[in-house]
């Protein structure tokens, strides 16, 4: 396609640049999720899981796999995408992206595409590692991938926004640590919300992460705390909101152009 309509070379250049950055830290990038997953299985699976037997007819060890994947997918997506766009802002190399014949869509495709590729890889590595400890059966593999892609893209867009909003590296950590991780832990990553007493059960339904985790878990086991359609709608809504914010950023030049 001609560069005057769609700058495919530009998208590919950014994507490759970002993937190259990940490759430099490939071994630590993959060793961390493998070790963390193993630790979760030792602590939650063996120590606690031996007393918990089953949730909704699913062995506890298998039950936490989708939650573990989501927890990493959220944090990896936000971290990779926010760092990817914050770094050029910090070093000043962003001048080149801003002066290039790239539209907002192309810039986002490059950065968010690469960040999503990495976070999905990590999630799949966790799935493979989990398979060493417990039996994981995915009932709807295509829908699982669809949820994985949609959620990775959404959180990478969210990370991209954080990376543009943040005024320094410490601010990059604030949202993932203070908002996303608590919501994920409280969102039923490691338990069914059915196990919570009222009023906590109702309050939890206002946590958007509940819908993401339950939708994803449904693709594994066919059971969920909330209707799967709600999960899909919540995920799509969050995706569209992030997309709208990113386009607003490019239209106004918020923290990019003076």
């Amino acid at each position: 396609m001609s560069a005057s309509v769609f700058n495919a070379h530009g998208v590919w250049a950014i994507y490759k640049f970002e993937m190259h950055r990940f490759k430099r830290t490939l071994w630590t990038g993959l060793a961390v999720p493998v070790i963390t997953t193993s630790l979760y299985f030792v602590v939650f699976g063996s120590a606690i899981g031996s007393r918990m037997t089953e949730i909704n007819g699913i062995p506890y060890g298998s039950f936490i796999v989708p939650g573990l994947m989501m927890l990493s997918l959220f944090t990896e997506s936000i971290f990779n995408a926010s760092f990817g766009i914050h770094m050029p802002r910090f070093t000043g190399t962003i001048y080149e992206i801003l002066s290039a014949p790239l539209s907002a869509l192309e810039t986002v495709l490059g950065y968010v595409g690469a960040a999503a590729t990495k976070s999905m890889t990590v999630a799949l590595v966790i799935l493979l590692t989990a398979n060493l400890f417990v039996d994981v059966h995915v009932e709807h593999p295509f829908l699982m991938l669809l949820f994985l892609i949609l959620i990775a893209a959404t959180f990478c867009l969210f990370g991209f926004i954080v990376g543009i909003w943040a005024k320094g590296f410490e601010q990059l950590q604030v949202i993932p640590l203070l908002v996303v991780t608590p919501l994920t832990f409280l969102g039923g990553s490691f338990y069914s919300i059915e196990m919570l007493p009222e009023p906590w059960r109702t309050i939890t339904l206002f946590n958007p992460i509940v819908y993401l985790i339950n939708g994803f878990r449904w693709t594994f086991f066919g059971t969920s705390d909330v209707p799967v359609l709600w999960s899909l709608l919540a995920t799509s809504a969050f995706f569209l909101i992030c997309l709208a914010v990113v386009f607003w950023i490019f239209r106004t030049g918020y923290r990019l152009k003076s």
Binding site: N7, R21, T91, G92, I97, S258
Partner: protein
């Protein structure tokens, strides 16, 4: 000869959110293949002007055409014709030289062309360093990498923002040669500088910007003729404490503790007034040991321009 403009700026203004008015209605045409030097003190608006053309800063009002394309409505075509070398050394420290230049070509929408990238790197004496990480390079080499990145997509217009700020003499000479070579290959070059020597050495035309206004745009040679002054310095045999009334009409100045007389005259005037001054001095018995004349440089002209307007 007026070449067709490759860059046309009309009614360009910029007021930042802070209220600072960085540009006050700038109009400027740059001809294809010329070297244009934008001179001005720090904070005059040089970088703002360049940043707007390159898409880094949003203009408040005004229109800009680059290589025949509107920089806002047809930004893809316009930007693909423009290369920018910013003043600061913004580099990806961990990238290899060849990768960063290939990356630049890609983001500007061009397909891979290893032969062209090799040529750019060779022209800039970077080929031997192509596999080195940028963080391992010296400041001068990093500056060359910035230029290679800006040239990677074969631009028609190249902006060099303070290209030789903090650069050693050798690299400065190399840079000047490179700019001339680029011009020969048809690239239009717009450089900002506050080294007047640089403009004097290279530019075809000079624009002087002060407090956001383009106060003058002129061909360099004409400017130097028009505003250039010549000065005659006379080394006196005997020091003088005051200028005699008989010499008042030449508006002389005393310098070097009364040992020198300075006469400033218009180089282009038919009568310079030198023979009559010398005759009058001889009549008065004022002797001199030596004399020399010098033409004012672009620097003198520039300083005059900026200070005169400051005073006004």
């Amino acid at each position: 000869m007026t070449p067709a403009p490759v860059l046309s700026i009309r009614g360009l203004t910029k007021t930042y959110a802070s209220g600072l008015q960085a540009l006050k209605s700038v109009d400027l045409d740059i001809g294809r293949g010329e070297i244009f030097a934008l001179l001005g003190p720090n904070g005059a608006g040089k970088t703002t002007l360049i940043s707007i053309v390159c898409g880094l800063v949003t203009p408040s009002t005004g229109e800009i055409q680059a290589a025949g394309h509107d920089i806002v409505r047809d930004y893809r075509r316009a930007r693909s014709k423009i290369g920018l070398v910013p003043q600061e050394l913004y580099t990806d420290a961990f990238e290899r030289v060849i990768d960063t230049v290939t990356f630049s070509r890609g983001v500007f929408g061009r397909s891979r062309n290893p032969a062209y990238v090799e040529k750019v790197l060779r022209d800039l004496s970077l080929w031997d360093k192509r596999n080195e990480k940028i963080k391992e390079l010296s400041g001068g080499m990093k500056r060359r990498v910035m230029i290679a990145k800006a040239l990677s997509h074969e631009p028609e217009i190249l902006f060099l923002d303070e290209p030789t700020a903090g650069v050693d003499v050798e690299l400065r000479r190399d840079m000047w040669n490179l700019v001339r070579q680029l011009r020969e290959s048809g690239v239009t070059i717009i450089l900002t500088t506050h080294y007047i020597e640089e403009a004097e050495e290279m530019a075809d035309r000079v624009g002087v910007i002060r407090k956001g206004e383009l106060i003058l745009v002129e061909e360099k040679t004409k400017l130097m003729q028009k505003l250039g002054k010549k000065q005659l310095t006379l080394n006196l045999s005997d020091p003088m404490t005051a200028i005699p009334a008989e010499l008042a009409e030449w508006k002389l100045a005393i310098q070097a503790d009364g040992n020198e007389l300075l006469y400033t005259f218009d180089a282009t005037a038919e009568r310079t007034g030198i023979p009559s001054l010398l005759r009058r001095m001889s009549d008065l018995g004022i002797g001199f040991k030596d004399l020399h004349t010098r033409e004012s440089s672009l620097e003198d002209i520039f300083v005059d321009l900026v200070t005169e307007r400051n005073a006004a």
